[in-house]
């Protein structure tokens, strides 16, 4: 966190100054470790085993927060008789279909619940016809929808429960059995963390959790970038829920992202499978109309039962008067998913010439995405490419100076892609908002006009839309109606006729039939009388004022500081904060009080805005015919879930299991000690026939020894992601001037690598060179009776700009998490050798030689 988020780290330092214990778990000793009380190096790619070990410790030693667990989680829910876990199934959960490589989740459901499959799974009925024949099953299943499920999940009906938690099929007992194998000895075998150190982490964490104290988890995207990435976060969620650290001050799981507004770009999504506010994108075959869509996607209980109001208000915001009850509010104007269209599948579609045009807004896949070569080959197959960035990044110039041009694999004369480079304005040159990890929007104002041809993304998108609409004027083709009927009428200002960002925010906030700004999503209706561009942002312009622009100093308000900026939903700073009070509505403890029930006023009150119906008393019991939020009892704080509970066990919503299980990374030099199944059986591998995405042997397979080390990629404080914002800046480039790798003195001695000399790092995909930094901060670790050396690789560099070097992402494979399609770049096996790599053609030959030595074919590593 100190490395990648130094500004946010000031609050960790402040907590430390107040007595907090800081634990840092990371393969490397970083700037964060330097300030932590305890640094725990572990083998990259083994966090589920590590966290699962803590879950086991908490359960076995009864360190969980009993009252919280019984009342606020699904620990007491009873699961179907047919459920079986990986301990009994050789590493698989029940419901596995080997042929389709996916799980049928029905056996993971609660017993007695009306099984209402979430739509992602329901769409299994409709095999993907457009996406060809992906090897790992239905393309529709691959669409995953993890984000949508995470925000709602499936209906659980009236499940049977056992509040004593003794029934053998309660979630609690299943959890205990599932994690029983995750012993301190197993943690040592898998992660390379000695038991005494592991137990110290367990003790620190449990001593600082409970009624009087809370602990927070902070992770960065390194946790997600694995073939089991979503299950990493799930394990942390289980742990924090058991410890009572959710919905309470000082608790939570904080996701630190790679960019200033990544939270904002999932809220108002840049993701293919979501509409604004986490409303799922409809599928082509499953949902014929709005009613069918809502029946499939909405829930019976909780706030997702109101999805109709959110969706209809969105359609009204986009298509205005054209959206009427008669035409189902233009529901048919929404695009439909025909499979997974995630970024990596889009690259594969490019190589197949199914995707022929590509916009890159501030993204540099030729450096920043896994298997950078495939990214370039994909772009080389396009008809047109638009790059909007500050500088001529590698993704804009690969056609004339990329590694494939040097090697002769591609020739500029033969590349048919028409490449447009359009300079982008910086955040200092435009108005807008950032949404940070706390879901807080902070408005920024343009300080100067953009120079030259640089324009904001808002400007570009607005005028692109205008021009397309002008071209379509007079069209009678039905397919043009969605564009022609759009409300595309933002006021413009300034010398560049910049669209008014505040007007866009007003559309997002929403209005009533008279055009008055709304103040809460509770005002939204499904009859077309309200508009709202993103229901969770409703209220950001309450009273017609930009609430995100508020800057009330901290000393003029309480410690929650909710007059600084604006947080969704409803300006709540801590989600699910009903859980900060006990079932009777009293704070669990005085020092951790946040919101509570005021019986005199008959309403919820406190320091934060209560995340609960304001006047629903703690003893409220819903009538049996209740629907939506009214169907949640006064003791059910997790108001987005349709049982109002935090899910220790996920009966639906995940495609790779209701509980996290440790699997080895795609390319691993070690066997899975926990289960006979080596890798996540439903991980997404995207084999590319024709040698560019070769996988490696793993575990005990012959050839594994060719790649005996484990590499992990990361960022440095001095640079930003793929370097487009930093490598061109002399003041930043001089601070970290060159691509380097970090290795231990022991590995240097073993492989004859010299400090400040050169090393070549090799995988089945590529070989890159880097200067060598020998440092004791890289610690050898003992795993399964042998010493493992790990290789640290910053991923900022490419060959353009002021500071240059090889890109670490050349090395990575396209093997993805099946829920959210993210690449595995935080743990992969490699070799490292002294000296620089040969020229491009020689490097290709070197990689082929490694492939031969390891016996790698197109099929290697693609097995279940």
């Amino acid at each position: 966190m100190a490395e990648c988020h130094p500004v946010g780290f000031q609050w960790v330092m402040e907590a430390k100054a107040r007595g907090a214990t800081v634990i840092h778990v990371d393969p490397r000793f970083t700037r964060t470790s330097a300030l932590a009380d305890l640094h725990v190096p572990l083998r990259a790619g083994t966090d589920i085993a590590f966290l699962g070990g803590i879950v086991n410790y908490v359960l076995a030693n009864e360190k969980y927060f009993h009252d919280y667990v019984v009342h606020y989680t699904n620990a007491a829910s009873i699961v179907t008789e047919d459920y079986a876990g990986p301990a009994d199934m050789d590493g698989f959960f029940s419901g596995f279909d080997a042929e389709k490589r996916h799980y049928d989740f029905h056996t993971w459901q609660y017993e007695g619940a009306e099984v209402q499959a979430a739509s992602g799974e329901r769409d299994l009925e409709y095999p993907d016809r457009a996406g060809g024949d992906p090897p790992s099953g239905s393309g529709v299943r691959q669409a995953g929808r993890g984000e949508a499920h995470g925000s709602g999940g499936a209906s659980s009906g009236q499940a049977r429960t056992d509040p004593t938690l003794r029934h053998q099929r309660t979630v609690f007992q299943i959890l205990k059995r599932h994690f029983a194998d995750y012993t301190p000895e197993m943690v040592e075998q898998v992660c390379g963390v000695p038991p005494e150190k592991f137990l110290r982490v367990c003790e620190y964490l449990t001593e600082n959790s409970g009624r009087e104290r809370t602990s927070a988890f902070v992770y960065s995207v390194g946790w997600t970038q694995h073939t089991v990435g979503v299950q990493y976060i799930r394990t942390a969620s289980i742990l924090q829920t058991l410890l009572g650290n959710i919905g309470r001050p000082g608790g939570g799981i904080l996701a630190l992202r790679g960019h200033a507004s990544i939270q904002g770009s999932t809220d108002i999504p840049t993701l293919f499978n979501l509409l604004p506010g986490y409303i799922p994108m409809p599928h082509a075959h499953a949902n014929q109309d709005r009613a069918a869509f809502l029946a499939a996607e909405g829930t019976d209980k909780g706030y997702w039962a109101n999805m109709g109001a959110y969706l209809t208000s969105l359609l009204k915001a986009w298509w205005g008067p054209a959206a009427t009850p008669e035409n189902d509010f233009c529901f048919d104007y929404l695009p439909r998913l025909t499979g997974s269209h995630s970024t990596y599948e889009t690259v594969m579609a490019q190589t197949r010439r199914e995707c022929v045009g590509y916009f890159l807004y501030g993204e540099n896949p030729a450096v920043g995405s896994a298997n950078a070569k495939l990214q370039r080959l994909g772009m080389a197959a396009l008809d047109w490419l638009v790059v909007r960035d500050f500088s001529l990044i590698e993704s804009a110039t690969w056609w004339k100076d990329g590694p494939e041009i040097e090697s002769g694999e591609l020739s500029t004369r033969e590349i048919a892609t028409e490449v447009f480079f359009l300079p982008a304005a910086a955040h200092t040159e435009k108005d807008g908002s950032f949404t940070n990890t706390q879901r807080m929007l902070q408005w920024h104002h343009a300080a100067v006009e953009p120079e030259g041809d640089a324009r904001s993304d808002l400007w570009f998108t607005y005028y692109l839309g205008k021009r397309i609409r002008e071209k379509l004027t007079g069209s009678t083709d039905d397919r043009d109606r969605p564009l022609l009927d759009l409300t595309w009428d933002y006021p413009v200002h300034g010398p560049l006729d910049e669209p008014d960002a505040d007007a866009v925010l007003a559309e997002i906030n929403g209005a009533d039939a008279q055009g008055n700004p709304l103040s809460s999503y509770e005002q939204l209706t499904d009859d077309g009388s309200t508009t709202c561009g993103c229901w969770i942002y409703c209220g950001v312009r309450a009273g017609g004022a930009n609430q995100a622009a508020r800057r009330e100093p901290g000393d003029r308000q309480n410690w929650v500081a909710n007059q600084w900026g604006w947080a969704w939903p409803a300006n709540r700073r801590i989600l699910y904060n009903r859980a900060s009070a006990d079932p009777d509505g009293r704070p669990w403890s005085a020092r951790k009080a946040l919101v509570w029930w005021d019986s005199d006023e008959q309403r919820w009150t406190g320091h934060d805005v209560a995340d609960f119906a304001a006047t629903k008393p703690p003893d409220y019991q819903p009538p049996s015919d209740a629907h939506g939020p009214a169907a949640l009892a006064g003791t059910e704080p997790f108001v987005m879930q349709d049982d109002g509970k935090a899910w220790l066990f996920a009966p639906a919503g995940l495609v790779d299991g209701p509980l996290p299980a440790h699997y080895e990374p795609q390319d691993s030099p070690f066997e899975n000690r926990l289960y006979p199944q080596q890798r996540n059986p439903v991980r997404q591998v995207l084999p590319f026939k024709g040698k560019h995405n070769r996988m490696q042997p793993s575990g005990a397979q012959p050839g594994t020894e060719v790649f005996p080390y484990v590499a992990t990629t990361y960022r440095l404080t001095e640079h930003h992601t793929a370097g487009g914002m930093s490598r061109w800046q002399p003041y930043l480039a001089e601070l970290q001037p060159e691509m380097f790798c970090e290795i231990s003195p022991e590995l240097a001695a073993q492989r004859g690598l010299t400090h400040l000399g050169w090393a070549t790092i090799v995988t089945a995909r590529a070989a890159i060179e880097a200067r060598v930094l020998v440092t004791e901060r890289m610690s050898p670790i003992a795993v399964q009776g042998r010493t493992l050396h790990q290789v640290g690789l910053p991923y900022h560099w490419g060959h353009n700009g002021y500071s240059t070097g090889d890109a670490a992402n050349e090395l990575a494979a396209l093997s993805l998490d099946p829920n959210v399609h993210i690449q595995e770049v935080k743990a992969f096996a490699c070799d490292i050798r002294p000296g620089r790599r040969p020229d491009a053609a020689g490097t290709a030959e070197l990689v082929r030689e490694y492939q031969r030595r390891a016996g790698i074919t197109d099929e290697t590593g693609t097995e279940i």
């Binding site: 100190a2 130094p6 500004v7 780290f9 000031q10 330092m13 100054a17 000793f29 700037r31 964060t32 470790s33 330097a34 300030l35 932590a36 009380d37 305890l38 640094h39 725990v40 190096p41 150190k197 110290r200 440095l716 404080t717 001095e718 002399p730 003041y731 930043l732 480039a733 001089e734 601070l735 970290q736 001037p737 060159e738 380097f740 231990s744 003195p745 022991e746 240097a748 001695a749 690598l753 010299t754 400090h755 400040l756 000399g757 200067r771 930094l773 020998v774 440092t775 004791e776 901060r777 610690s779 050898p780 670790i781 002021y802 500071s803």
Partner: protein, 317 residues
Amino acid sequence: MTDTASSTGSGHDPAAASGYPDHPPRMGFFTDTSVCIGCKACEVACKEWNLIPEDGLDLTGMSYDNTGGLSADTWRHVAFIEQRKPIGVQDPGLQHTGDVLAMAEQGAATPPADAAMNPTTPGQAGEFRWLMSSDVCKHCTHAACLDVCPTGSLFRTEFGTVVVQEDICNGCGYCIPACPYGVIDRREGDGRAWKCTLCYDRIGAGGEPACAKACPTESIQFGPLDQLRERARQRVEQLHGEGVADARLYGADPDDGVGGDGAFFLLLDEPEVYGLPPDPVVTTRDLPSMWRHVAAAAGTLVGMAAAAFTAAAFGKR
């Protein structure tokens, strides 16, 4: 505005001594290296605000320090020191058995040649720390650079800081060997001397220096010097209480060889580890006595000559 090196003692008020009878409190930096996270925001903010040129892409191999040291083009410099030494109750979690320096004579991040000075020789298994420290001009109470400047380019401000004026400096370079810390430096291709101004333009307008403003963890604190010294004293006590026995102040003592620094530090090891002189002395300290000796010698010579003449006169008689 001259600052006389002869005036010493803890009560010395450099601004008053330089002709500001009614001046604001002396301002300075307290750099608490125990909370530095090595982000280098100070380096970048300083260069941005003061329009200092970038000075080369050199991978130095000195841990994450690719800046090297203070110079005409670097007015804030963050040092990174990898050490086999424990830091209080911190557990680094690293396990290197044996003498890693001998093992990798190619070099650990601390060059082997410096190992005697930077104690990276094998310690207990698991002992390791990574020190980070942002260095800057010390704005000495008795500033030799200022004493030797013949043009008046270097001057003492009303805040007690020492500033060099680029439009007056003639590039004579006398100040450079005069600095006991090796801070002030001549810019290549320019010839004039440059160093930290403690953002005279910002603090004169009621702001704080760019580096302190940018520091996310309050490792760099700006304020009235006496308040900073008191805060620093308490911080050292606190760290000692937490078992960080190595914590000590550097440049906070008004009775040291430069009369105390306007920019002082909390260090976690000997100053040499950070590349700081252990006992800096204002290089012009002995000038007055040297001149006294010269004067005495000259007087003696005159006296002897007179005596000789007298003797001769007597002799002639």
